[in-house]
Amino acid sequence: MAKRDLISIEDLSREQVELLLDTAESFLPVLQRDIKKVPTLRGRTIVNLFWEASTRTSSSFDLAAKRLSADTIALKASGSAVEKGETLKDTAITLSAYGPDIIVMRHPSAGACQVLSANTEASVINAGDGKHQHPTQCLLDLFALRQTFGRDLGGMKVAIVGDILHSRVARSDIMGFQLLGMDVTLVGPPTLIPRGIDQMGVRVEHDIARLRDADVIYLLRIQKERISEGANFLPSLREYSRLYGMTRARLRPGQRVMHPGPINRGVEIGPDIADDDENLIALQVFSGLAVRMAILYRTVVGYSDAGSEEVL
């Protein structure tokens, strides 16, 4: 049987996305019990390979695997053979000797998952590769949206605001949101909107005042290196904040705010929004656990409906 990788949102059909979200929902009761563990993946081995800093993604994958009773190995670039110059191919071959079922990987370079997958029998789950894709973030975003707005997200309008050029989250979200029938607008300074992105079927705006019709405002983190000398993507964080920082005053009543984290308080998101309980940011983090349990589970057992009953 061919192994199942999840490298890009494009690897999934709409039906598979819906099934993953349903599966995640079925895990919610487990997470509310006193004993938050099921034996579903007992005896399975999952490797978490994080070659780039991560808090949310690595901890939720780790906890998701443990909730499903899988055995886990966690590796980081620092302190591992990577620091000694081992190539990704050799790391893949080494880890494969343990016979893992799944390798979850975050890597600074696009194309890393393809190299890993070519050198292991394990299924590869992309936890973020360069600026390319972050499919599990997209799935948890969809889950959080479903928890908030109901199962049918078709026709909803989402505006993604900020550094689209350098954002793997934006690319996965555009694809995933569109897959479920949502309408996507991108907003940001022209220096941070990649040329040709309009061909993905999105509207592009440079003025944040033009987002009144959006149901959801999805803010992206602005990284400090974008203002470094020579790069010149932005003159200053202050200027960005003045033009694109989201504050309560700029929000239309009823608009909900999302953010993949970690947030830059006072840059892309005002404290008044960061601290209120209208935003969906905490729900996103919570969704990450259930969704990643579902992804691990479906990666092992497959995407046919049969079998989902025995989960609990």
Partner: protein, 438 residues
């Protein structure tokens, strides 16, 4: 004076029986026998009798073509003989139907002194199965700072001057190189690239790079630098050769320059003529090259320019890389694809068979046009000429595989492609350099 060197192989005595001889320069496209005696073409015509000692080869149904000339190959010697060396690189060339190859100077160390070039000429005399010539570097160590001793390099046999792999970063450097070239009589060739726009780029900038999240290399990165070099060549009235044109915008600048009578020539690679940035969706590092694969509009403009002669010739930009440089994530991989062994079959399959280009024009652009730019005798299939020819089976189909290469490296953008047209025999400088045993 010699600008190419090769190892002494026995001169060929061959009768090629019944092939279709296509030699556009002589206006020949006919079924003829070709007799090669002591390395020279002795006779062409019908029903030639094989003289004693001549080997008769039945080439019925095959093409007999002037051998190909590559103005742009990276043979990695000296310095990276694990990736390619003179023996393997010229054998790969022969297997692709090439009878003359010119190697770039961006080796380690760079070919930036006459002594270095003479050393490589000695290696070629010992190892090269087809005549091999060398570019001299424009600047010492390709650092873009100080000019090399171009006059002495030219005396040692440098065919032309190029810092290929790196752009000439400042306008004044382009100017000085062009001025100095008037002493050497050799062409200066440029790798068009504005480094400030390149800035860590991974692929062509456009809808595909936007979708993949890979840093883009805009077409302007090439066309601005090409336009600047062309303007400078016009100002100095100096000849200029433009390496591996990839963007339609560069062709516009080239067309303007040529229309003013400027002595400017240009090359295009088989991959830019047949592939687009859509191939990068696979994130296969073998399709990562510089200049990058561009959009379909660029590709079509390039094919049209090759047809019209605006682009004078095909050049492979054969760039062998060790597995360690390519078996890594796309963003960490080296730029470049090999090309010597696939060039003709790729262009025959994708352009000639699809009627985008006729066979005679392809032969001109691969053989006689690049030979003229290098200042050598263009290969010709006529009595008296040194035998520089190849025999191609136009019906043979084959699949590009890692195992199938004579090159030491297998980083081909065409791996897995099913191609039509197989080089069966190559005679270079009167010597049998390649014979396909398959």
């Amino acid at each position: 004076m010699d600008r190419t060197w090769h190892k002494p192989l026995p001169a060929a005595d061959l009768l090629l029986r019944g092939g279709r001889v296509v030699d556009p320069r002589s206006g020949i496209d006919a079924v003829q026998d070709v007799l090669v005696k002591r390395g020279r073409i002795a006779e062409t015509g019908a029903a030639i009798t094989a003289p004693k000692g001549a080997r008769e080869v039945d080439v019925t149904g095959m093409l007999v073509l002037p051998g190909f000339v590559d103005l742009h190959a990276h043979l990695r010697a000296p310095g990276r003989e694990d990736e390619e060396d003179v023996a393997s690189g010229t054998l790969a060339a022969a297997a692709g139907g090439y009878v003359r190859v010119f190697a770039m100077a961006n080796t380690d160390p760079a070919i930036d002194t006459a002594a270095g070039l003479r050393g490589m000429a000695d290696v070629a005399r010992a190892e090269a199965v087809v005549p091999l010539g060398f570019y001299g570097a424009v600047t010492r160590g390709l650092k873009g700072e100080q000019l090399t001793e171009m006059a002495e390099l030219a005396e040692a046999g440098a065919v032309a001057f190029s810092d290929d792999g790196r752009p000439l970063a400042t306008a004044v450097l382009v100017r000085r190189a062009l001025q100095y070239a008037k002493i050497t009589g050799r062409v200066v060739a440029v790798h068009g690239q504005d480094d400030s726009l390149f800035a860590g780029g991974q692929m062509h900038e456009g809808p595909v790079s936007a979708r993949l999240g890979l840093a883009g290399i805009p077409s302007l990165c090439e066309s601005l630098d090409v336009a600047r070099a062309l303007d400078m060549a016009a100002y100095e009235a100096a000849p200029l050769h433009v390496h591996h044109v990839s963007a339609a915008a560069s062709l516009e600048a080239l067309s303007r320059a040529k229309s003013t009578g400027l002595k400017v020539t240009a090359e295009a690679t088989p991959h830019h003529l047949t592939m687009t940035d859509e191939a990068v969706v696979s994130l296969d590092s073998n399709v990562k090259m510089n200049p990058p694969l561009r959009e379909e509009d660029d590709r079509q403009a390039l094919v049209k320019a090759l047809k019209s002669g605006l682009v004078d010739c095909v050049a492979t930009d054969h760039a062998p890389h060790a597995p360690m440089s390519k078996d890594v994530p796309f963003e960490e991989a080296a730029f470049g694809t090999t090309g010597l062994e696939t060039a003709f079959a790729v262009l025959y399959t994708d352009l000639v068979k699809r009627r985008a280009l006729d066979l005679g024009t392809l032969v001109t652009r691969m053989s006689q046009a690049p030979a003229a730019i290098a200042g050598g005798e263009p290969p010709a299939i006529r009595p008296g000429a040194l035998a520089d020819l190849c025999v191609v089976d136009p019906r043979a189909t084959w699949t590009v595989t890692v195992e199938g290469f004579k090159s030491k490296s297998a980083n081909s953008a065409f791996l897995g492609r099913r191609l039509t047209g197989r080089v069966k025999l190559t005679v270079a400088a009167g010597r049998v350099a390649w014979e396909d045993d398959a």
